[in-house]
Every structure is written in structure tokens, then in C-alpha cells.
Symmetry: C2
Subunit: 399 residues, 2 copies
């Protein structure tokens, strides 16, 4: 893993922005920069050696870190002196950044008290920008995650029988994923947001909106986790949304397929086909230089042309305002295919693109693939068979 | 659910502390106070109606909230006027609290910009204190969670065979839990900390320390989730730590049992028995009025008397400094059985108590139960059989 290269790139960005250092506090950012996810503060000066001050476990961080030198964090009362000794550039007045989108308020207060010589600014955009383009080590994890999802669906979906509860289907999928090494959760950067593996849900239940910032919600098991699979039974003729990911060695994948036991009603089938049409149209323009916002606008105008604007990406006030999202260590990385994102695509960026249509009381249909941008265009990372998955009511096997 | 009662208790605390209101931003706190976990800001004035300003889903929040009135959050630019209209006490200069242990820095900055008339203080201790004593509705969820863990172990442990990988055993346990309605994750309040279901791991692997603030770490599957079950194989004669929880309707349980295929070495068996001895000694004093810190000190002196101080609650610098923790919607609630916690126990408080001994290179042994404090003493909520679980090497069944 080229974590040292990542530290070097971060340092260039710090120098460009005339910052003296970055203090990484978010475990995912620390992992990206060092290869270890032990707890503590990673101090990256604009030039010179990065030092990871570890709360616990020091031994484990020392074993795992591939870029930063590891020291025990020890008492915050004496930390200032140790930082100054290790990194003289931070001994006096200095400008530091930390990711304010993930650092909690009392965490920043502790940092301010410990390093009173520093002024602090929000470095969230620095680290989010840094993490946009993936390197080969990262792509390799994402490819393995894509394979796990495909294998898990191949193992679990044949167990689906009419009347099975959503949570029973999801439990089968997760069981297949977990035995193959899914880390058990998919990380979301947005504060207060959480995911396990995604959605296996159908009919009216999956069309229920949720707090989660995605086009499909799901009834969920309880208001205490009000999204994804619930207690509802999966019945013939209703769309079954299989929006499933997993986490392999830290990296997540996101893939959606739509299934049905028997046949879909004609309008939902047409909407499913529209989601493939939109995905193909985005793929045609998916290459370095394409502007994120324009891909989203393209999808909006296609949905409108197809007469489906009202159902696109959720219904009414609960519709979401994007069609794709960066993905890597977290499910909600940059860039986003949404208004306001004027970012031009670059090789290495990984995007999940997910045109979907919501019909309240009836269900959600759509498709989602994860792609990496290549010098010439894109490579599709998700590998499961596309098209509507028509299942036999008597055996549950994909046709 | 008596969420209105919870709001009323919060309001009393606000008045005692001369605060004009509390703005709940943490989804778990919002759920506790309203019964819904949709996203947004819950404004609880020191007196009068609580209003939940919902980002999404407004429809779902309105359906689920049992205490607060629900309004769309809408634009933060006009939020000040709407707050002032709904809650005149907050129209002018006012003192508001929010939980700074969970609110991220840029979240507070947005709140400050939206409500410039307010001064802000850290209300984390208010909401953590409020949530310490559980009501009957909460205890009912925790009891069901305890039953799920017991059933899942009864289903999964007989599948254990020598040479099985830790993750395979954990996958069996999670499969049994998930089909029964485990929400899929156990919430941790500490920023940057996460859990799925706990630890099923054995021998040298489980004795590896981790960033997680618990007595046992675990090798984990990868540095990207370096705790709990890993790829190691479970072999006869080594202690198997089954530190398992689940989440039922928002509430988590925590239970540890130690198992072995065949026989434990004599010193590890003695250490296991010491963990039961310590647990029994704590139980003898577990009643209203007992001081948290003193229960911890008692456990420390017993571990020392038994000649096991060096192994107690982790090894060397990675040992943790508590023997029990509050538990409810989150795994790390108040009070904590640790130095500095002078809190006197009260009826309704729920505690997981977990004396454990770590032997680097060999394993972790111990026991953990979850208890609720009653007017006369305690009630044990975890129900699995105590004592060392001795498994037959040929069939994996508990003797």
C-alpha cells in the first residue's frame, strides 16, 4: 500500500493552501494515510515526517503503520512539547487543518487546549479531494468486494420463496458475505448516518422513505433502524430491490439489481427499463473530463423525456438530488453526480451510479453499478448480470 | 413509549441548569426523546412543546414521533424565524445546549450561523445522565435482546468444529441473530468507534489488543476492522471468547461466555474461575447506593489478591480501566464502573459487568452479564448458562 505516497500528496495540498499541517482524527482518514485504524491523532506536517500519536493500541499501530512513525499519545498536557520536538515547524504559531465534518466539537476543544499555538481550519475538503482518485491497491479491494456481492447473491437469491420476509432474505445474503470476509458494516462519512449491507426489500415496504440519503428507503425492522429490510413478506409480482454492498479490507462496493417473482406490472417494467436506458446514456459520457453535474442533469432530462420525472430518485419531498456518488472506504465519497459538483472526472475516480424510480405503495425499481474512470472511459467494477432478474415462483432461481 | 415523560425530565434538568433549551442532533438522542430516528434537529425548550425540525423523512417522522411536533427543517436561512415563532423563549438571546461529544464541528458552526442569538454549551452530560435509568419499555427491549443472544448461541455454537475459522463461527451467530431481528449493528457513542455484534475469537488472536476500548481486542479480519473475529482457526484447548450482543428495537445487550473444545490449561481455568469470583463479589454489592468507582476498586483488589493483577482487563499498556459500563441504546452509556465515577447506583440503571483476564499469545477468559438495578438489588438480564462451556471435540455440543 502506497500510504507514503498519499502522505506526500496531502503535504503538497497543504503547501498549496499555505497550511502548516493536517491533524487526522477520523479513523478512516487515518487508515487511508497510514494503513492502520488504531485510535489517536495523526499529525502530518506540510513537510517532513508524519507522526501518529496513538491512544490504543500502540503496539498494533506500530505493527501496521506503513507510513507514519508511531508514538504513544500519552497525556495531552505534555503533548505540545512532544509535537514541537518531533515537528519544529509546529512549535510556534501555526495553521492546522482537521476534518470538521467528522471531528466532534469536544474533540476540537481538546485539540485547541492541547496545542494553543495553532489556529484551526476545516480540512474536510482537502482529505475528501485527496481520496477521490483510487490507486491500484484500492481498486483491487473494490474488485474483490464486487465479486463477494455477486457470489453472495448467487448463493442467497435461490433461497427466496414467495412469502419470505425481507429480513430473512437479507440474513441469507449477509451470511454468505460474512463467511467470505465482509467486515460487517459499510462506512458512511455523513455524521449520524449508518449502513450495514444495504437493502433487500420489496413492494410497498421498500418505497417507504427513510432518513438515509438514498433514492430507496425501506421500512426497516423498527423506527430504531428505519431503512432497508423489514418484517414484510416478499410476494410475487412486486419489485424486489437488491441494493447490496459489502466491505473488503476497508473498501465498499455498491450494486443494485431488481428482481421479481413472476412478472412485473407493465408500468414498473417500463420504469425498470428506463433506469437501464439512463445508465447507458450516462455510460456513454463517462470518461475523464466529463462534468459531474452535467451527468446528473442528463439523467434528469432523460427521466423527464420518459415521462417518469415524478418517480425519479425517490418520490415527492423525499426524492434525493443526485444520481451517483463516489465510493471507496466510505459509501458517500466525492465526487457526487449532483448539481453544484462542477468536478471533471479523472482516471481512478470510483462512482456508484444508480438511476431508480419510486412508486409509493408499490415499490422501487432500478439498477446500480460501480465504475472506475479509466484514461479512455470507464471500467465496470460490479459484475452481477444486468437486466431484470425474473425468478420462478416455485424455485426462486434466476431465469 | 413514554417519550413525553423523557422530554419532561430533560426540561427539568434544563431549568435546573438555567438553560433555555436543548438541541438534539445525535440520532440516538433524538430517538430516545421522540421515538423516531429520522434526521434533523430536535429543539426542546426548557418549558413548552418540543419541535422536531426534520430534514428527512418528514412524513416518516410525523408518523413515528410520539412526543415532538414535526415540521420540515427547510432552509437554515429562514429557520431562526420559524424557531422564534414556535418557541418565543428562544427568539432573543438564549442559552442552548447540544451534545458536543457527538455533534461534529461543522454541524455546530451551521447551528451557530442559523441561530446567532444563542450561546452554546456542551449538553452531553445532561442527555447521558437523563438516559442512565431505563424505563419498563426500554428494559423490555433489552430482555428480548438477551433472549436473542441466548438463542443464537444455542443455534450457532453446536456448529463449531475444531479448525473452524473465527469469522465462520461469528457468521453463524450473526445469521441466527439477524433472522430473529437483530438490527445489524450495536451503536457506540464514542466518536469514531464502531461495533457489529462483538467477538467470537480464540487463543492468541483474541488476546491481540485493539483500538476498541474493551478488555479483549481480537485480531479482526484486516487492519481496516482490527477487532473481534478474524481468519484464525479455533483449536482444541484454547479459550474461546464469546462476547456477543445484538440490537433489538434499538436496545443492545452485552454478554460474554468462555468456551473451550476439550480442556483449558490449569492456569487459564483458574483465571476463568477468578472472573466468576469477581463477578459474584460485585453482585453482592450491586444495589441502589453502591458507588460505581468502589465496585471497580473492589474488582481490582480481588484480581490482585488472586495474583492476577497483571492480566486483569487486558495486558500491559492496552489494559482498560473499567470493569463495567452502562448499556441501553448505546453500548457505552453511563454510569461506568471506573475510577472517577462517584455515581451512586439507582434503580433502572443497566450495567454490563465483565471481569476478564488476558494472556498474550494464549487468549482471554472471562464472563460478562448485563444487570438492571432494582430497588432491592439487581436483576440479571442476560440468561445464558454460566460457567465454562466445555465443548466435545467431535460434535461441538456444550456438555
Amino acid at each position: 500500500m502506497s500510504t507514503l505516497n498519499r502522505i506526500n500528496r496531502l503535504q503538497s495540498m497543504l503547501r498549496e493552501q499555505r497550511l502548516d499541517g493536517f491533524v487526522a482524527t477520523h479513523p478512516i482518514d487515518i487508515f487511508y494515510l497510514t494503513g492502520t485504524m488504531q485510535s489517536g491523532f495523526l499529525v502530518v506536517p506540510a513537510a517532513g515526517e508524519a507522526v501518529f500519536y496513538v491512544r490504543r493500541s500502540v503496539a498494533r499501530a506500530a505493527e501496521e503503520s506503513t507510513s507514519a512513525r508511531v508514538e504513544p499519545l500519552g497525556s495531552l498536557k505534555t503533548w505540545k512539547e512532544r509535537v514541537a520536538a518531533n515537528t519544529p515547524a509546529l512549535a510556534g504559531a501555526c495553521a492546522l487543518a482537521a476534518a470538521f465534518d467528522t471531528l466532534v466539537v469536544d474533540g476540537l476543544e481538546r485539540l485547541k487546549a492541547a496545542l494553543p499555538q495553532a489556529s484551526w481550519t476545516n480540512g474536510a475538503s482537502i482529505v475528501r479531494t485527496l481520496r477521490m482518485a483510487k490507486d491500484e491497491a484500492e481498486l483491487s479491494c473494490i474488485r474483490r468486494a464486487a465479486k463477494l456481492v455477486d457470489e453472495a447473491l448467487a448463493e442467497a437469491v435461490p433461497k427466496l420463496v414467495p412469502g419470505m420476509r425481507e429480513i430473512e432474505l437479507l440474513a441469507e445474503i449477509e451470511y454468505a458475505l460474512r463467511r467470505r470476509g465482509h467486515l460487517g458494516l459499510m462506512r458512511v462519512r455523513a455524521a449520524g448516518s449508518e449502513l450495514v449491507t444495504g437493502i433487500a426489500a420489496s413492494g410497498a415496504a421498500v418505497a417507504k422513505p427513510s432518513a438515509f440519503d438514498g433514492p430507496a428507503g425501506g421500512e426497516g425492522l423498527h423506527p430504531a433502524f428505519s431503512k432497508g429490510a423489514g418484517w414484510s413478506r416478499i410476494e410475487p409480482g412486486e419489485p424486489i430491490l437488491l441494493d447490496i454492498g459489502c466491505n473488503v479490507d476497508g473498501y465498499v462496493i455498491d450494486q443494485t439489481r431488481t428482481a421479481v417473482i413472476g412478472e412485473l406490472p407493465a408500468d414498473l417494467l417500463a420504469a425498470y427499463e428506463a433506469s437501464e436506458t439512463i445508465l447507458r446514456a450516462i455510460e456513454e459520457r463517462l470518461r475523464p473530463g466529463a462534468i459531474c453535474e452535467e451527468l446528473y442533469e442528463l439523467s434528469l432530462s432523460l427521466a423527464a423525456e420518459l415521462g417518469l420525472a415524478e418517480h425519479y430518485m425517490g418520490f415527492g419531498p423525499d426524492a434525493v438530488k443526485f444520481v451517483g456518488h463516489g465510493i471507496g472506504l466510505e459509501i458517500d465519497e466525492w465526487p457526487v453526480l449532483a448539481r453544484g459538483f462542477r468536478t471533471a472526472l479523472e482516471p481512478g475516480m470510483v462512482l456508484a451510479i444508480e438511476p431508480k424510480f419510486t412508486y409509493p405503495g408499490r415499490g422501487v425499481v432500478g439498477i446500480e453499478n460501480t465504475y472506475v474512470i479509466t484514461p479512455d472511459g470507464f471500467e465496470k467494477l460490479t459484475i452481477s448480470r444486468e437486466g431484470l432478474w425474473k425468478l420462478q415462483p416455485d424455485m426462486g432461481l434466476p431465469l
